[in-house]
């Protein structure tokens, strides 16, 4: 999923303080799962903002709403009846949701309330880590199911580098060495010989090197 973390309240206040009526929008998808921008976080941010504005001697009117998916135009249409009642939109969705709103409501200011972080998985309750960088040409089939692009600090395709120590990366003991993990997996699968194959220089075009990426499914596109 796409992970996110809420921005500091001060930054959000700076965005919204010129406005009187705010439409605060959550999203029911990834940001709900990572507890950054779902219905619950919308409620918490709304009260936090109200209190901060009151303390500062001003007031703000906040309408709360959470869409099924902010990155989907079908759900964004739901907002049409509400949009005239708002001076600005504050979105708690990932960057995809924020942009969907900005494109749909061209004359309405839209601000992000979260920082979109990475594509990751949950390690345990409350902990997520990066697993995929969307390079567009998945290597997991040959690296034992561990991604060196997303998980090696140097994105080495032929690691590990000389800084791997006791299974940890040189950048910090809380980071696992991806190539150590790959090696352990190859051993467990009896595929040690695969390590000796040199992975050639990567073509970064599918990773974004060729410009913004797009998928067109002829069988589905109207």
């Amino acid at each position: 999923m796409i992970t996110a973390e809420r921005k500091p309240l001060e930054e959000i206040i700076d965005y919204v303080k010129p406005f009187k009526r705010i439409l605060l929008l959550g999203c029911n998808e990834c940001v709900t799962v990572c507890a950054a921008g779902g219905r619950k976080e919308v409620g918490l941010l709304a009260s936090g903002l109200q209190m901060a504005m009151l303390k500062a001697g001003s007031s703000i009117e906040i309408r709360e709403h959470t869409l099924e998916r902010q990155c989907d135009p079908e759900y964004v249409e739901e907002l049409v009846p509400m949009i005239d009642g708002a001076d600005a939109i504050l979105s708690m969705a990932c960057g995809c949701g924020v942009q969907q709103l900005a494109m749909r409501f061209k004359d309405k200011p839209v601000f992000p309330a979260v920082n979109t972080k990475f594509m990751g998985g949950s390690q345990r309750q409350g902990v997520w880590d990066e697993r995929c960088q969307g390079c567009g040409d998945c290597l997991l089939g040959i690296t034992g199911g561990i991604c060196p692009i997303a998980r090696c600090a140097k994105q080495l395709m032929n690691g590990p580098c000389g800084g791997s120590c006791d299974g940890k990366c040189e950048i910090g003991e809380d980071v696992e060495c991806a190539w150590h993990l790959i090696w352990e997996r190859l051993k467990a699968l009896g595929l040690q010989d695969r390590y000796l194959e040199i992975m050639p220089a990567k073509d970064w075009r599918p990773a974004g090197g060729a410009g913004p990426r797009k998928i067109i499914r002829e069988d589905l596109a109207e």
């Binding site: 600090a153 140097k154 994105q155 080495l156 395709m157 032929n158 690691g159 590990p160 580098c161 000389g162 800084g163 791997s164 120590c165 006791d166 299974g167 040189e170 950048i171 910090g172 060495c177 190539w179 150590h180 090696w183 390590y195 000796l196 040199i198 992975m199 050639p200 220089a201 990567k202 970064w204």
Partner: protein, 308 residues
Amino acid sequence: MKTDSYLEKVLAAGHLAVTSECGPPRGATAASVQDKAKYLDGVVDAVNITDNQTAMVRMSSFAGSVLVRQQGMHPLLQMVTRDRNRLAMQADILGAYALGINTMLCLSGDHTKFGDHPMAMNVHDIDSIQLIQMVKTMRDEGKFQGGAEIKGAPKMFIGAAANPFADPFELRVMRLAKKIAAGADFIQTQCIFNIEKFERWMEGVRKMGLHKKCYILAGVTPMKSVGAARYMKNRVPGMDVPTELVERMGSVEKEKQPEEGIAICVETIERLKQVEGVAGFHIMAIDWEEKVEEIVKKAGLYPRPQVQ
């Protein structure tokens, strides 16, 4: 002979080669490179010019190499994949070769986290093994990495690094095998303090016959003080300094510690000479270039051979 590299000639003639390094300054003063290099003139066969070492901005390795070449010495251009993409690296390789630099070392580089620009993006368009492949393709096939023909191919003698002390140990010989398969002609190892572990690594190297496929230069570093020994032991990723050595450095008074560090370095070289497959030494005297001559002489590696 694959190239006109002086280092290649020394190694091919069967001499124990000696290289050392010179870290360019954090400023635009040519004299700081020239003064450091002077200490190494006639003392070593090639001088590594580091490339933004420890991820700190310094004068470029390319410029430093040119300055050293102008002094009539043989620079060894270090290149890390951290700071430049494949276009920039190939452009530098062409330029360096055009200016008389024919020996290089292909590295991935320390992470930016350790340097003075931790906010910078790490490039890593390609990794060190792919860089070796790229330089070899440029030399042997006269082609750019993208496939187009090079008009006037650069003939680089290709070096790579190996760290026998990093984990997992069982992978370290295989990783060397990959670097050689990619096209490495010579290897400079991480600083060796744990000789017993290095010998175990070399056993694995010989078992795969890798010492016959490339020249292995054993890396050594003289320690200046017990503080430096402790720092390398505890703080530098991928370094293995045995406790006994730290204690030995600490057992002599402060003024005598530099001398003790040099003695250890010389003893290390003497022991490594006995290891089958060691083709020479890479002496990394960081900001202590003036001591390289003494080490080379005490280790019986002087005078340096003259090869044509």
